[in-house]
Subunit: 194 residues, 2 copies
DNA sequence: TCACATCTTGACCCAAGAGTCAAAGTTTGT
DNA sequence: ACAAACTTTGACTCTTGGGTCAAGATGTGA
Protein backbone atom coordinates (compact mmCIF):
# COMPACT_ATOMS: atom_id res chain seq x y z
CA UNK A 1 0.00 0.00 0.00
CA UNK A 2 1.09 3.54 -0.77
CA UNK A 3 0.43 4.51 2.84
CA UNK A 4 3.04 2.14 4.11
CA UNK A 5 5.57 3.25 1.58
CA UNK A 6 5.02 6.83 2.63
CA UNK A 7 5.72 6.00 6.25
CA UNK A 8 8.84 4.11 5.30
CA UNK A 9 10.11 7.03 3.27
CA UNK A 10 9.34 9.30 6.16
CA UNK A 11 11.31 7.19 8.59
CA UNK A 12 14.27 7.15 6.24
CA UNK A 13 14.16 10.89 5.72
CA UNK A 14 14.00 11.56 9.44
CA UNK A 15 16.98 9.33 10.18
CA UNK A 16 18.88 10.88 7.30
CA UNK A 17 18.13 14.44 8.38
CA UNK A 18 19.40 13.72 11.87
CA UNK A 19 22.60 12.09 10.75
CA UNK A 20 23.43 14.54 8.00
CA UNK A 21 22.71 17.39 10.36
CA UNK A 22 25.08 15.93 12.90
CA UNK A 23 28.02 15.05 10.75
CA UNK A 24 27.48 16.69 7.40
CA UNK A 25 27.12 15.34 3.92
CA UNK A 26 30.46 13.64 3.58
CA UNK A 27 30.54 12.48 7.20
CA UNK A 28 27.61 10.12 6.84
CA UNK A 29 27.55 6.96 4.76
CA UNK A 30 24.42 5.23 3.58
CA UNK A 31 25.45 2.36 5.79
CA UNK A 32 25.18 4.72 8.73
CA UNK A 33 21.67 5.67 7.72
CA UNK A 34 20.74 2.04 7.13
CA UNK A 35 22.17 1.01 10.49
CA UNK A 36 20.06 3.53 12.32
CA UNK A 37 16.99 2.06 10.66
CA UNK A 38 18.10 -1.54 11.20
CA UNK A 39 18.11 -2.35 7.53
CA UNK A 40 20.85 -2.76 4.96
CA UNK A 41 22.17 -0.23 2.54
CA UNK A 42 20.64 -1.96 -0.44
CA UNK A 43 17.22 -1.34 0.97
CA UNK A 44 17.68 2.40 0.84
CA UNK A 45 18.37 2.17 -2.86
CA UNK A 46 14.94 0.72 -3.30
CA UNK A 47 13.50 4.08 -2.22
CA UNK A 48 16.16 6.50 -3.40
CA UNK A 49 18.28 6.31 -6.49
CA UNK A 50 21.37 7.83 -4.92
CA UNK A 51 22.83 9.43 -1.85
CA UNK A 52 22.25 12.82 -3.38
CA UNK A 53 18.60 12.11 -4.00
CA UNK A 54 18.15 11.00 -0.42
CA UNK A 55 19.85 14.08 0.90
CA UNK A 56 17.86 16.37 -1.34
CA UNK A 57 14.61 14.80 -0.20
CA UNK A 58 15.63 15.03 3.44
CA UNK A 59 16.44 18.70 3.15
CA UNK A 60 13.28 19.38 1.22
CA UNK A 61 11.01 17.62 3.67
CA UNK A 62 12.60 19.08 6.73
CA UNK A 63 12.64 22.60 5.37
CA UNK A 64 9.06 22.46 4.21
CA UNK A 65 7.67 20.94 7.38
CA UNK A 66 9.47 23.38 9.55
CA UNK A 67 8.27 26.43 7.70
CA UNK A 68 4.74 25.02 7.53
CA UNK A 69 4.65 24.80 11.29
CA UNK A 70 5.87 28.34 11.75
CA UNK A 71 3.37 29.63 9.23
CA UNK A 72 0.63 27.80 11.12
CA UNK A 73 1.18 29.85 14.25
CA UNK A 74 -1.65 32.29 15.08
CA UNK A 75 -1.30 35.65 13.41
CA UNK A 76 -3.15 37.46 16.16
CA UNK A 77 -1.33 39.68 18.63
CA UNK A 78 1.17 42.48 18.45
CA UNK A 79 4.42 42.07 16.53
CA UNK A 80 6.45 41.57 19.74
CA UNK A 81 4.08 38.84 20.87
CA UNK A 82 4.15 37.16 17.51
CA UNK A 83 7.88 37.41 17.08
CA UNK A 84 8.50 35.94 20.48
CA UNK A 85 6.11 33.08 19.68
CA UNK A 86 7.92 32.45 16.42
CA UNK A 87 11.31 32.43 18.07
CA UNK A 88 10.16 30.14 20.81
CA UNK A 89 8.52 27.69 18.45
CA UNK A 90 11.51 27.70 16.16
CA UNK A 91 13.92 27.00 18.98
CA UNK A 92 11.61 24.40 20.42
CA UNK A 93 11.49 22.49 17.16
CA UNK A 94 15.24 22.80 16.76
CA UNK A 95 16.07 21.64 20.26
CA UNK A 96 13.44 19.01 20.82
CA UNK A 97 12.70 17.49 17.44
CA UNK A 98 15.63 17.99 15.14
CA UNK A 99 18.55 18.51 17.48
CA UNK A 100 21.05 18.56 14.68
CA UNK A 101 19.25 18.82 11.42
CA UNK A 102 19.13 22.58 11.23
CA UNK A 103 22.79 22.73 10.51
CA UNK A 104 22.03 21.48 7.05
CA UNK A 105 20.73 24.91 6.27
CA UNK A 106 23.66 26.72 7.74
CA UNK A 107 26.66 25.36 5.90
CA UNK A 108 25.73 25.45 2.26
CA UNK A 109 29.27 24.99 0.98
CA UNK A 110 29.38 21.60 2.46
CA UNK A 111 26.74 20.26 0.14
CA UNK A 112 26.99 19.25 -3.48
CA UNK A 113 26.20 22.04 -5.90
CA UNK A 114 22.81 20.66 -6.78
CA UNK A 115 21.55 20.90 -3.21
CA UNK A 116 22.74 24.41 -2.56
CA UNK A 117 20.20 26.33 -4.57
CA UNK A 118 17.40 24.28 -3.08
CA UNK A 119 18.71 24.95 0.41
CA UNK A 120 18.87 28.63 -0.39
CA UNK A 121 15.30 28.66 -1.63
CA UNK A 122 14.00 26.91 1.47
CA UNK A 123 15.87 29.32 3.69
CA UNK A 124 14.36 32.24 1.88
CA UNK A 125 10.83 31.07 2.47
CA UNK A 126 11.72 30.41 6.08
CA UNK A 127 13.26 33.84 6.51
CA UNK A 128 10.19 35.45 5.02
CA UNK A 129 8.08 34.36 7.97
CA UNK A 130 10.31 36.22 10.39
CA UNK A 131 10.87 39.13 8.08
CA UNK A 132 7.17 39.84 7.78
CA UNK A 133 6.72 40.17 11.52
CA UNK A 134 9.87 42.21 12.00
CA UNK A 135 8.89 44.63 9.27
CA UNK A 136 5.43 45.06 10.67
CA UNK A 137 6.91 45.83 14.07
CA UNK A 138 9.23 48.36 12.51
CA UNK A 139 6.34 50.06 10.73
CA UNK A 140 4.31 50.52 13.88
CA UNK A 141 7.32 51.47 15.95
CA UNK A 142 7.38 48.50 18.30
CA UNK A 143 10.78 47.42 16.99
CA UNK A 144 14.04 49.18 16.32
CA UNK A 145 16.91 47.69 14.37
CA UNK A 146 20.19 48.74 12.87
CA UNK A 147 19.21 47.03 9.64
CA UNK A 148 16.75 44.26 8.93
CA UNK A 149 19.06 41.81 7.19
CA UNK A 150 21.78 41.41 9.78
CA UNK A 151 19.09 41.22 12.44
CA UNK A 152 17.38 38.30 10.76
CA UNK A 153 20.67 36.61 9.97
CA UNK A 154 21.81 36.89 13.54
CA UNK A 155 18.55 35.43 14.79
CA UNK A 156 18.78 32.45 12.51
CA UNK A 157 22.42 31.83 13.22
CA UNK A 158 21.76 31.80 16.94
CA UNK A 159 18.72 29.56 16.67
CA UNK A 160 20.56 27.10 14.49
CA UNK A 161 23.24 26.74 17.07
CA UNK A 162 20.78 26.51 19.91
CA UNK A 163 20.62 22.70 20.11
CA UNK A 164 24.29 22.65 21.02
CA UNK A 165 23.85 24.51 24.27
CA UNK A 166 20.16 24.86 25.03
CA UNK A 167 18.81 22.04 27.13
CA UNK A 168 15.51 22.80 28.77
CA UNK A 169 12.48 25.03 28.50
CA UNK A 170 14.11 27.70 30.55
CA UNK A 171 16.96 27.85 28.06
CA UNK A 172 14.50 28.14 25.22
CA UNK A 173 12.73 31.07 26.84
CA UNK A 174 15.98 32.78 27.71
CA UNK A 175 17.25 32.50 24.20
CA UNK A 176 13.99 33.74 22.73
CA UNK A 177 14.04 36.73 25.06
CA UNK A 178 17.69 37.36 24.32
CA UNK A 179 16.95 37.44 20.61
CA UNK A 180 14.06 39.84 21.16
CA UNK A 181 16.69 42.33 22.17
CA UNK A 182 17.91 42.33 18.58
CA UNK A 183 14.77 44.22 17.67
CA UNK A 184 15.08 46.48 20.65
CA UNK A 185 12.56 44.81 22.89
CA UNK A 186 13.43 43.53 26.31
CA UNK A 187 15.25 44.46 29.47
CA UNK A 188 16.87 47.33 27.72
CA UNK A 189 19.06 50.12 28.96
CA UNK A 190 19.19 53.46 27.24
CA UNK A 191 21.04 53.53 23.97
CA UNK A 192 24.46 55.06 24.44
CA UNK A 193 26.16 54.23 21.16
CA UNK A 194 25.87 54.63 17.41
CA UNK B 1 66.81 25.87 7.93
CA UNK B 2 64.16 25.73 10.64
CA UNK B 3 62.78 29.05 9.41
CA UNK B 4 61.85 27.61 6.08
CA UNK B 5 60.20 24.61 7.62
CA UNK B 6 58.10 26.85 9.82
CA UNK B 7 56.84 28.79 6.83
CA UNK B 8 56.02 25.61 5.00
CA UNK B 9 54.06 24.30 7.96
CA UNK B 10 52.24 27.60 8.16
CA UNK B 11 51.25 27.47 4.53
CA UNK B 12 49.92 23.96 4.96
CA UNK B 13 47.94 24.88 8.04
CA UNK B 14 46.40 27.89 6.37
CA UNK B 15 45.30 25.90 3.35
CA UNK B 16 43.98 23.17 5.59
CA UNK B 17 42.03 25.56 7.79
CA UNK B 18 40.35 27.10 4.78
CA UNK B 19 39.37 23.83 3.22
CA UNK B 20 38.22 22.13 6.40
CA UNK B 21 36.25 25.20 7.32
CA UNK B 22 34.52 25.14 3.97
CA UNK B 23 33.65 21.51 3.64
CA UNK B 24 34.20 19.94 7.02
CA UNK B 25 36.46 17.19 8.23
CA UNK B 26 35.14 14.37 6.11
CA UNK B 27 34.56 16.56 3.08
CA UNK B 28 38.22 17.31 2.52
CA UNK B 29 40.85 14.80 1.48
CA UNK B 30 44.55 15.28 1.89
CA UNK B 31 44.75 15.30 -1.86
CA UNK B 32 42.55 18.37 -1.82
CA UNK B 33 44.90 20.07 0.60
CA UNK B 34 47.93 19.01 -1.42
CA UNK B 35 46.37 20.25 -4.65
CA UNK B 36 45.80 23.68 -3.22
CA UNK B 37 49.47 23.84 -2.33
CA UNK B 38 50.62 22.37 -5.64
CA UNK B 39 52.34 19.44 -4.05
CA UNK B 40 51.46 15.79 -3.70
CA UNK B 41 49.82 14.07 -0.81
CA UNK B 42 52.98 12.27 0.19
CA UNK B 43 54.63 15.57 0.88
CA UNK B 44 52.12 16.44 3.57
CA UNK B 45 53.02 13.28 5.40
CA UNK B 46 56.53 14.56 5.70
CA UNK B 47 55.21 17.30 7.98
CA UNK B 48 52.23 15.63 9.62
CA UNK B 49 51.84 12.03 10.65
CA UNK B 50 48.15 11.78 9.86
CA UNK B 51 45.09 13.65 8.72
CA UNK B 52 44.01 14.02 12.32
CA UNK B 53 47.30 15.53 13.33
CA UNK B 54 47.07 18.04 10.51
CA UNK B 55 43.54 18.96 11.46
CA UNK B 56 44.37 19.27 15.12
CA UNK B 57 47.30 21.55 14.33
CA UNK B 58 45.17 23.66 12.00
CA UNK B 59 42.49 24.13 14.62
CA UNK B 60 45.02 24.84 17.30
CA UNK B 61 46.90 27.44 15.31
CA UNK B 62 43.81 29.19 14.05
CA UNK B 63 42.15 29.26 17.45
CA UNK B 64 45.22 30.53 19.22
CA UNK B 65 46.07 33.21 16.68
CA UNK B 66 42.54 34.47 16.62
CA UNK B 67 42.22 34.80 20.35
CA UNK B 68 45.68 36.36 20.59
CA UNK B 69 44.60 39.09 18.25
CA UNK B 70 41.45 39.82 20.19
CA UNK B 71 43.34 39.87 23.45
CA UNK B 72 45.78 42.31 21.92
CA UNK B 73 43.09 44.94 21.41
CA UNK B 74 43.40 47.99 23.66
CA UNK B 75 41.69 47.60 27.00
CA UNK B 76 41.04 51.31 27.34
CA UNK B 77 37.55 52.73 26.92
CA UNK B 78 34.11 51.99 28.24
CA UNK B 79 32.64 48.50 27.99
CA UNK B 80 30.39 49.49 25.06
CA UNK B 81 33.35 50.89 23.17
CA UNK B 82 35.45 47.85 23.88
CA UNK B 83 32.73 45.36 23.06
CA UNK B 84 32.04 47.03 19.77
CA UNK B 85 35.75 46.99 18.95
CA UNK B 86 35.89 43.29 19.81
CA UNK B 87 32.89 42.47 17.69
CA UNK B 88 34.17 44.46 14.78
CA UNK B 89 37.63 42.94 14.90
CA UNK B 90 36.24 39.46 15.24
CA UNK B 91 33.95 39.86 12.27
CA UNK B 92 36.69 41.50 10.27
CA UNK B 93 39.02 38.57 10.82
CA UNK B 94 36.26 36.13 10.03
CA UNK B 95 35.16 37.82 6.85
CA UNK B 96 38.46 38.97 5.44
CA UNK B 97 41.04 36.47 6.55
CA UNK B 98 39.41 33.17 7.31
CA UNK B 99 36.18 33.29 5.34
CA UNK B 100 35.32 29.73 6.19
CA UNK B 101 37.57 28.52 8.92
CA UNK B 102 35.47 29.68 11.83
CA UNK B 103 32.97 27.02 11.13
CA UNK B 104 35.41 24.51 12.48
CA UNK B 105 34.56 25.80 15.91
CA UNK B 106 30.85 25.69 15.41
CA UNK B 107 30.10 22.13 14.52
CA UNK B 108 31.94 20.04 17.08
CA UNK B 109 30.05 16.85 16.33
CA UNK B 110 31.52 16.77 12.92
CA UNK B 111 35.03 16.23 14.21
CA UNK B 112 36.69 13.12 15.53
CA UNK B 113 36.42 12.72 19.27
CA UNK B 114 40.01 13.68 19.88
CA UNK B 115 39.57 17.12 18.33
CA UNK B 116 36.38 17.97 20.14
CA UNK B 117 37.77 18.64 23.56
CA UNK B 118 40.52 20.77 22.09
CA UNK B 119 37.98 22.75 20.10
CA UNK B 120 35.93 23.23 23.23
CA UNK B 121 38.94 24.47 25.16
CA UNK B 122 39.88 26.96 22.47
CA UNK B 123 36.32 28.24 22.31
CA UNK B 124 36.27 28.72 26.04
CA UNK B 125 39.34 30.91 26.01
CA UNK B 126 37.86 32.81 23.11
CA UNK B 127 34.53 33.27 24.85
CA UNK B 128 36.30 34.51 27.96
CA UNK B 129 37.48 37.60 26.12
CA UNK B 130 33.93 38.62 25.33
CA UNK B 131 32.56 37.50 28.64
CA UNK B 132 34.93 39.72 30.58
CA UNK B 133 33.79 42.84 28.76
CA UNK B 134 30.12 41.96 28.95
CA UNK B 135 30.30 41.30 32.66
CA UNK B 136 32.09 44.53 33.30
CA UNK B 137 29.41 46.38 31.37
CA UNK B 138 26.73 44.65 33.37
CA UNK B 139 28.39 45.60 36.64
CA UNK B 140 28.54 49.28 35.82
CA UNK B 141 25.10 49.32 34.28
CA UNK B 142 26.05 50.04 30.70
CA UNK B 143 24.66 46.71 29.53
CA UNK B 144 21.46 44.82 30.15
CA UNK B 145 20.93 41.20 29.23
CA UNK B 146 18.41 38.46 29.80
CA UNK B 147 21.24 36.15 30.76
CA UNK B 148 24.92 36.20 29.95
CA UNK B 149 25.30 32.77 28.39
CA UNK B 150 22.69 32.93 25.68
CA UNK B 151 23.86 36.44 24.88
CA UNK B 152 27.42 35.31 24.27
CA UNK B 153 26.31 32.22 22.41
CA UNK B 154 24.10 34.24 20.13
CA UNK B 155 26.94 36.65 19.41
CA UNK B 156 29.32 33.90 18.47
CA UNK B 157 26.81 32.05 16.39
CA UNK B 158 26.05 35.17 14.39
CA UNK B 159 29.69 36.08 13.92
CA UNK B 160 30.58 32.61 12.77
CA UNK B 161 27.97 32.78 10.08
CA UNK B 162 28.93 36.27 9.07
CA UNK B 163 31.26 35.34 6.19
CA UNK B 164 28.32 33.78 4.40
CA UNK B 165 26.44 37.02 4.01
CA UNK B 166 28.65 39.90 5.05
CA UNK B 167 30.61 41.38 2.19
CA UNK B 168 32.00 44.79 2.88
CA UNK B 169 32.97 47.10 5.71
CA UNK B 170 29.49 48.47 5.92
CA UNK B 171 28.16 44.98 6.54
CA UNK B 172 30.74 44.46 9.25
CA UNK B 173 29.74 47.63 11.04
CA UNK B 174 26.05 46.87 10.71
CA UNK B 175 26.47 43.44 12.15
CA UNK B 176 28.61 44.69 15.01
CA UNK B 177 26.00 47.32 15.83
CA UNK B 178 23.21 44.79 15.52
CA UNK B 179 24.94 42.53 18.00
CA UNK B 180 25.43 45.42 20.40
CA UNK B 181 21.67 45.37 20.77
CA UNK B 182 21.99 42.01 22.47
CA UNK B 183 23.45 43.82 25.44
CA UNK B 184 20.86 46.55 25.26
CA UNK B 185 22.96 49.17 23.54
CA UNK B 186 21.97 50.77 20.28
CA UNK B 187 19.08 52.32 18.48
CA UNK B 188 16.78 50.99 21.10
CA UNK B 189 13.10 51.48 21.74
CA UNK B 190 11.77 51.17 25.22
CA UNK B 191 11.26 47.67 26.46
CA UNK B 192 7.65 46.68 26.05
CA UNK B 193 7.51 43.23 27.53
CA UNK B 194 9.64 40.52 29.01
C1' DT C 1 83.01 18.98 -6.50
C1' DC C 2 81.53 15.75 -3.09
C1' DA C 3 79.06 14.26 0.88
C1' DC C 4 75.17 14.95 3.82
C1' DA C 5 70.65 16.51 5.12
C1' DT C 6 66.33 18.04 3.65
C1' DC C 7 62.33 17.67 0.92
C1' DT C 8 59.30 15.69 -2.85
C1' DT C 9 57.51 12.35 -5.64
C1' DG C 10 54.66 8.62 -7.52
C1' DA C 11 53.67 4.09 -7.19
C1' DC C 12 51.69 1.09 -4.06
C1' DC C 13 48.58 -1.11 -0.23
C1' DC C 14 44.33 -1.40 2.13
C1' DA C 15 39.83 -0.07 3.99
C1' DA C 16 35.60 2.27 3.38
C1' DG C 17 31.87 3.75 0.82
C1' DA C 18 28.70 4.48 -3.47
C1' DG C 19 26.07 1.90 -6.32
C1' DT C 20 24.18 -2.84 -8.57
C1' DC C 21 21.55 -6.86 -8.66
C1' DA C 22 19.80 -11.62 -8.55
C1' DA C 23 17.80 -14.27 -5.24
C1' DA C 24 15.09 -14.81 -1.18
C1' DG C 25 11.50 -13.16 1.97
C1' DT C 26 7.10 -10.93 2.81
C1' DT C 27 2.38 -8.95 1.77
C1' DT C 28 -1.81 -8.67 -0.47
C1' DG C 29 -5.79 -9.76 -3.11
C1' DT C 30 -8.56 -13.52 -4.71
C1' DA D 1 -3.62 -21.78 -0.91
C1' DC D 2 -1.57 -19.28 -4.71
C1' DA D 3 0.22 -15.89 -7.55
C1' DA D 4 1.56 -11.26 -8.21
C1' DA D 5 3.50 -7.30 -6.29
C1' DC D 6 6.34 -5.41 -3.08
C1' DT D 7 10.48 -5.28 -0.06
C1' DT D 8 14.88 -6.76 1.79
C1' DT D 9 19.11 -8.88 1.60
C1' DG D 10 24.08 -9.76 1.01
C1' DA D 11 27.46 -10.45 -2.03
C1' DC D 12 29.70 -8.00 -5.71
C1' DT D 13 32.17 -4.02 -8.39
C1' DC D 14 34.58 0.13 -8.65
C1' DT D 15 36.34 4.46 -6.96
C1' DT D 16 38.14 7.33 -3.44
C1' DG D 17 41.00 8.34 0.21
C1' DG D 18 44.29 7.42 4.25
C1' DG D 19 48.72 5.96 4.82
C1' DT D 20 53.65 3.92 3.38
C1' DC D 21 57.97 4.07 1.25
C1' DA D 22 61.99 3.60 -1.79
C1' DA D 23 63.87 6.34 -5.04
C1' DG D 24 64.92 10.75 -6.93
C1' DA D 25 65.44 15.83 -6.57
C1' DT D 26 67.06 19.87 -4.31
C1' DG D 27 69.61 22.16 -1.42
C1' DT D 28 73.97 23.24 1.93
C1' DG D 29 78.42 23.35 3.70
C1' DA D 30 83.38 22.27 3.24
Amino acid sequence: MARKRGQRVRAILTAAAELFGERGYAGVSLEDVADRLDVTKGSLYYYFASKDELVTAAIETLGTDWTDRLEALPVAGTPPERLRALLREHIRIAVREYPAALRMFLVPDEWPQEQRSRITALRRRHDAVFRAVVEEGLRNGAFTVVAVDPTLQAMHAAMSQAPVWVRDDRGIDQLADTLMMLVGVGPVSRGSGA
